[in-house]
Amino acid sequence: MTRRRWVTLALVLGVVALFALPLLLGAPSDYAGTDSLATEAIEQSNPDYVPWFDHVFSPGSTEIESGLFALQAAIGGGVLGYVLGRLRGRRAQREAVAAATSTRDDVTP
């Protein structure tokens, strides 16, 4: 493997470790979202505050909600993969063209 590949591998492992380690080492926790923790903190310190507007649409269940979150990630991941694939294909094509023209130059002195 080239040095470049090793660096890539180390970066990926670093990202994975940042999330795996708290799960492995941390005390048992339900990992509630910070957004809902903040909402709870407000309800605790300001018990008389009533939200004055409600969601226009709420997913019927947590399954539907996580499905919609997955959909969001899938759309983003799909578009990102498409762009990176196209950029990579374009470079490969350009290199092939450059190689072809340079060999042609060698043949015709």
């Binding site: 080239t2 470049r4 890539t8 970066l11 990926v12 670093g14 990202v15 940042l18 999330f19 380690l21 708290p22 799960l23 941390g26 926790s29 990992y31 509630a32 979202g33 910070t34 957004d35 809902s36 903040a38 909402t39 903190a41 407000i42 310190s45 300001n46 505050y49 939200p51 004055w52 507007f53 409600d54 969601h55 226009v56 649409f57 709420s58 997913p59 909600e65 919609l68 979150f69 997955a70 969001q72 990630a73 759309i75 983003g76 991941g77 799909g78 578009v79 498409y82 762009v83 990176l84 196209r86 950029l87 990579r88 374009r90 470079r91 350009r94 290199e95 450059a98 190689a99 340079s102």
Partner: protein
């Protein structure tokens, strides 16, 4: 960083909406201008938007025992300067407010202000500073991505402290409380986001060099930024295109 629907008093909700609106309008014009003047930017603009879309959908566990999501706004801020992200970030927040019951319409202004405006600008500033200090693109990218993420959550904490000051210790006490919820949890996520940004830019410097040079992210002459496997065999395209005299960033 999503302040839940209805969880900002009306005056605050309206105030943040008014504060965010000009940035978003300016950002929309920046996106239209970029696409019109440089149609070849569309691909990378899509990548910047998609990166924010993915990252803000994924909630990740943190050392504090709670979970939170990254923002991914640093990529677009570094590539296209921050105004573009004011629009792209707001689109993501609108999607989540309407379809996921996450965030909300009344808090869209405040959430856009933290994630689509303060985050990208703070990240962009950190990117410029770190890149200048280190002379290395990827060090700048790491700093820019991480700071854009963290600054977003710090802003949310301050917005909530402003709306719900502590009964005894006031704004400062509430700020400490909300920073404890948001900012501390966010530190490992911000580091991870910085690493993801470095991964993405390593791919881009190899595969999208012409765009990065045009956007001023990379210098025009072929410098060996990383251990780039391609010694750039293609000679620079003939400088006949008159449209190339774009503003240097």
């Amino acid at each position: 960083m999503h302040i839940a629907e209805g969880f900002l008093p009306p005056a605050h909700a309206i105030g943040w909406t008014i504060a965010a609106a000009p940035f978003v309008v300016h950002g929309a014009r920046a996106v239209v201008k970029e696409v019109r003047e440089n149609p070849e930017s569309t691909l990378l603009l899509g990548a910047a938007g998609a990166f924010t879309f993915v990252l803000s959908a994924i909630k990740l566990p943190s050392v504090t025992g709670s979970s939170s999501h990254p923002t991914g706004t640093g990529v677009g801020a570094i590539l296209f300067r921050p105004p573009v992200m004011a629009l792209l970030g707001t689109v993501v927040l609108l999607f989540q407010a309407l379809l996921l019951a996450h965030g909300g319409l009344t808090t869209l202004g405040a959430n856009a202000f933290s994630m689509a405006i303060v985050g990208p600008w703070a990240g962009y500033g950190a990117y410029r500073l770190a890149r200048k200090a280190s002379g290395n693109l990827l060090v700048g990218v790491f700093a820019g991505m991480a700071v854009a993420d963290l600054a977003t959550y710090v802003t949310t904490s301050l917005q909530l402290a402003l709306a719900f000051p502590d009964a005894s210790s006031g704004f400062a006490g509430a700020a400490v409380k909300f920073l404890g919820v948001f900012a501390v949890t966010q530190v490992p996520l911000a580091i991870a986001e910085g690493l993801l940004g470095v991964l993405l830019f390593r791919v881009l410097t190899v595969n999208a060099r012409p765009e990065l040079e045009r956007l001023g992210v990379l210098e025009r002459r072929p410098v060996d930024e990383d251990d780039d496997p391609t010694p750039t065999p293609t000679p620079a395209p003939a400088p006949t295109t008159s449209t190339d005299g774009e503003v240097t960033r």
